[in-house]
């Protein structure tokens, strides 16, 4: 048994380290090292909720966005949802649509960035698919080999999505335009037209580049499965065997319709529900659709750097003391649980709670009239690397289309109120109130709770997606989702080019433009990586290649800044 560390885990948000204890398995072809147990260390603490205490309740919208600059918009939205709830007011249809447009476009950016810049490179290497590998040979490499073509296109296209966010939010990251029970930005024809034209380009990219890129990766899955199975003499089905958790999936719902808005609010009140008026449903899937209620959430701290006396509490009671050097604790995140069980949150959880295990997303571009269908059958009902990426791609298709539809629909509400008519002016804040905000960030279910006393924040609590996914073991000893997902992952004692050559031995890449002649995939990668000092990519102490393990971690799209902001009272 060895201990293998990945610290820092890069291409995520924030400071994460993962420690893996290994075990060896011996087969007819040799002895292979796999992960036995994994521990997720979250390595930053800033104390956001302490900072919020005593401030104007509305400041939370601005300040909580700065919890995370990758997913600021959802934090802002969840803070606003909590304020809507505390104010006891419903936003008018124009505001609900404008919010949906802003966040729809934001989602397109976020899922694109993750798919291409964060998790994409390893998938591109595994599948021998140059467009998803970074453009390590520059412009010439893009031209001659297509190396990094989609990666580069993604950087250019995501800006257009954020342009739409800026149209409705002033700027991105950290937009300014949401207000309790409404918006501060007006729907104008100019904004609507600009939204539709940018989204048209994005829709085209998503349908004609992103989906085919993903399918190209999937098309190599059987080959990867066969090669690895033969090499290791094990039964390996492909990327769906990488990164399973428990088969429990939680989502809070996303993108409400202005019709039946009561169904949306009922879940904030604590009732059980699916939020049927939303595009993405709330739910607590455990093999079948289950209604969700926030009253079943508790947070545990046995292995977190907080005093044990506050373990097992609902967020509204979350009263926490930091114990920096607590024995046995190994992270700043707590361990949230639903009905005391471990739930995965994120894109896959959203898709499963909305569509089950078989998805068929039919969309029609409202501008061009083009139709497109994205189909996916979940390959591993306990979740996997490939299913999580599929969920992101599916949602990018869906949300890109919906953002355009909402923009078209908004035209009919252009001259309506953009904030609930009961708001007298900017000076109004309720004296005493509490509010629960429930939304889904790209990384998963996001909760903000605010308690207002004498027009000020008395108590603020967030439970964020990465706390669910990246948190440590709970008081019952159950590993968190990422810790569970890493168990059994192969740690080859071979470097990246060697693995690539094992998967694709044929010499069929014309690298003559780079003075190499016709070479194999691994050799081409070595040629691209070596000048950048990256020949030993993902190799850790002891000669372990952590490419697969780190891909499992990245498939959850970790966001550590989000997860580590807790309150000291």
């Amino acid at each position: 048994m060895a201990t293998v560390k990945m610290d820092p885990v890069t291409r995520i948000e924030g400071h994460l380290g993962v420690t893996m204890e290994t075990k060896d398995i011996t087969t007819s072809t040799g002895t292979w090292t796999v992960v036995d147990k994994a521990y997720s260390h979250t390595n930053l603490f800033r104390g956001w909720e302490i900072i919020l205490k005593g401030r104007d309740p509305r400041d939370a919208f601005f300040l909580t966005q700065r919890i995370c600059g990758v997913c600021p918009a959802p934090h802002g939205e969840t803070a606003i949802q909590a304020l809507d709830h505390a104010y006891g007011m419903t936003p008018p249809p124009a505001a609900i649509l404008a919010r949906n447009i802003l966040h729809g476009a934001y989602y397109v950016y976020d899922h694109m960035i993750h798919t291409y810049l964060l998790i994409g490179p390893e998938l591109g290497v595994l599948a021998k698919y140059p467009p998803m590998v970074p453009p390590a040979l520059g412009k010439d490499g893009i031209k001659a080999l297509g190396l990094g073509s989609s990666y580069a296109a993604c950087i250019q296209m995501q800006r257009k999505a954020n342009k739409v966010v800026a149209l409705w939010g002033g700027k991105f990251p950290h937009h300014t335009s949401e207000y309790p029970s409404g918006m501060t930005v007006k729907p104008t024809l100019d904004r609507i037209a600009n939204t539709i034209s940018n989204m048209t380009e994005l829709w085209d990219f998503v349908v004609n580049v992103m989906v085919p890129d993903f399918m190209a990766i999937v098309s190599k899955n059987d080959h990867i499965a066969e090669t690895v199975s033969t090499l290791l003499d094990i039964d390996f089905n492909g990327l769906q065997d990488l990164g399973p958790t428990y088969g429990n999936f939680l989502s809070y719902g996303l993108f409400p319709d202005y019709n039946d808005y009561d169904k949306w609010v009922a879940v904030q009140d604590g009732e059980e529900g699916y939020r049927d008026n939303a595009l993405i449903k709330a739910g607590a899937w455990d093999g079948d659709f289950k209604k969700f209620t926030h009253t079943k959430i508790k947070e545990y701290v046995k292995y977190s750097r907080y005093d044990d006396s506050i373990t097992g509490r609902h967020p509204s009671q979350g009263d926490v003391k930091v114990v920096k050097d607590k024995p046995g604790a190994y992270g700043w995140m707590k361990a949230p649980r639903y009905e005391d069980k471990v739930y995965e949150v994120g894109p896959l959880a959203r898709m499963i709670n909305t569509y089950g295990l078989n998805w068929k997303i039919d969309v029609t571009n409202p501008v061009t009239g083009e139709s497109f269908t994205f189909k996916w059958k979940v390959l591993n009902p306990k979740g996997s690397v490939v299913d999580r990426v599929a969920a992101r791609v599916a949602q990018t298709v869906l949300f890109a289309t919906k953002t355009m539809e909402w923009a078209v629909e908004l035209k009919q509400f252009m001259h309506d109120d953009i904030v609930n008519a009961k708001i007298p002016d900017y000076s109004y804040v309720p004296d005493n109130a509490e509010g629960m905000g429930l939304w889904d960030a790209p990384r998963g279910a996001l909760l903000h709770y605010t308690k207002i006393r004498n027009k000020k924040i008395d108590h603020y609590q967030c439970i964020v997606p990465s706390t669910w996914n990246l948190g440590p073991r709970d008081d019952m000893g159950q590993p968190g989702p990422v810790e569970k997902a890493l168990e059994g992952t192969w740690l080859p004692k071979l470097d990246v080019p060697t693995v690539a050559n094992a998967l694709y031995p044929e010499k069929d890449i014309d690298a003559s433009a780079f003075g190499l002649g016709t070479v194999s995939w691994g050799d081409a990668l070595a040629a691209a990586l070596t000048p950048l000092g990256l020949a030993q990519l993902n190799m850790e102490e002891g000669g372990y290649n952590t490419s697969l393990a780190i891909t499992v971690v990245r498939s959850f799209d970790p966001c550590i800044a989000c997860g580590v902001h807790f309150i000291i009272k």
């Binding site: 820092p8 924030g14 509305r58 800026a166 700027k171 300014t176 409404g182 002016d425 190799m539």
Partner: protein
């Protein structure tokens, strides 16, 4: 300032672009905006950096950060990240002219290799070409560790090596929200930290929350060409942070002069009464705008003042007019302002009152 000189030659107007020198680099950059500037002077800039035998080594460290500045940097346009990384190369090497040896959020390497690239490739880069970019605040010991080492030590070691240090965003410049009351982790900006540990090197502060990508791209370009930007008392390039939002560049200023104020979401008017911090904020947001020149905070709500030291505490509650903020009317002018501030705040109150009197509307007599 005028960037274009028009001369009549042979009966035709000819456009002459001013010669690019180290002295006027930032002035031109500020006046023209990143896009126009870099397009106009691309060949000069490429020429100036092309003779180099080595790329510019970037070490991008994240402390108590939200990564918003990295994401903002990815929004840079013309040149965008792809162009920076793939088009302008060191001689014929194929290596980009500037390359992060270390950048947690987007770098291919992780774990041991990531740290090794920083400790070897960056540290051993050609002297004079090692740029340190810091995102996020610096906290007391024990709140932020990377690869088992405290962020303070990472930063100290890197700062000792760095040939130029750029702090990006409100947290790295002045401490930002992590340093807001009650500052639970003892957070501070990079320059304060370096002073504390006895490293006497200039820090270029590029605040805003997050950093504006143009500001950063232009500052890196300025360093490459040897044109150190002129800095104000808070370490900010004067070219970007020398203008008062409210007094000099706000397109909503005519509303203010007419006494038309937004008091309820959705109303058109000057945002001063609802709490806009433009009057005490020095930045070029209103001119430069964000996300491919699309918009900025005031267009969709109001300015929060995130370019200034003391943010957010001295600028919040955000929905309070500037004149009613205790920090502004209190005795704390010095830290906030540039001397003019007290007068500006008083002027605003008087102005508001005057408007109220002349327009006969009582409710405009704010506070």
């Amino acid at each position: 300032m005028n960037t274009k000189v028009l001369k009549r030659k042979g009966g035709r107007l000819m456009e002459i672009k001013p010669k690019l020198t180290r002295r006027n680099f930032m002035k031109l950059a500020a006046a023209m905006g990143a896009t126009a500037f870099l397009t106009t002077y691309k060949s000069e800039i490429v020429e100036a950096v092309e003779q180099s035998k080595d790329y510019w080594h970037i070490n991008w460290l994240n402390g108590a950060a939200c990564t918003g500045c990295t994401v903002s940097f990815a929004q840079a346009s013309e040149p965008d990240l792809v162009q920076i990384l793939t088009e302008i190369t060191v001689g014929n090497s194929g290596l980009p002219i500037a390359l992060p040896d270390y950048m947690e959020t987007i770098h291919p390497a992780s774990g041991k290799l990531a740290e090794k690239l920083k400790d070897e490739r960056w540290v051993n880069g050609t002297p004079g070409k090692r740029v340190l970019i810091v995102e996020g605040a610096v906290q007391q010991e024990g709140f932020c560790t990377i690869a088992g080492k405290d962020f303070r030590d990472h930063l100290k070691e890197a700062a000792e090596v760095a040939d130029a240090i750029i702090a990006v965003g409100q947290c790295a410049t002045y401490g930002g929200i992590p340093a807001a009351k009650p500052n639970p982790t003892g957070a501070m900006g990079v320059s304060d930290f370096l002073k504390e540990v006895g490293i006497n090197k200039p820090v270029i502060n590029i605040p805003l929350c997050p950093v504006h990508p143009d500001h950063l791209v232009l500052t890196i370009a300025a360093i490459m060409i040897g044109a150190m930007p002129d800095l104000d008392n808070y370490g900010r390039p004067k070219a970007f942070f020398g203008k008062n939002m409210h007094d000099e560049i706000c397109p909503y200023r005519p509303y203010y002069d007419r006494g038309v104020f937004t008091r309820r979401p959705g109303e058109e008017g000057c945002r001063y009464v609802m709490g806009c911090k433009g009057p005490i904020t020095w930045t070029d947001c209103a001119l430069r705008k964000w996300n491919m020149h699309t918009s900025y905070c005031v267009e969709t709500n109001m300015c929060l003042g995130c370019s200034e030291p003391g943010w957010p505490d001295k600028f919040s509650p955000f929905y309070k007019p500037v004149a009613s903020l205790p920090a502004v009317l209190g005795v704390d002018f010095g830290t906030l302002g540039q001397g003019l501030l007290g007068a500006a705040a008083a002027g605003i109150v008087i102005h508001g009152v005057k408007r109220a009197v002349t327009s006969g509307k009582k409710e405009e007599k704010e506070e």
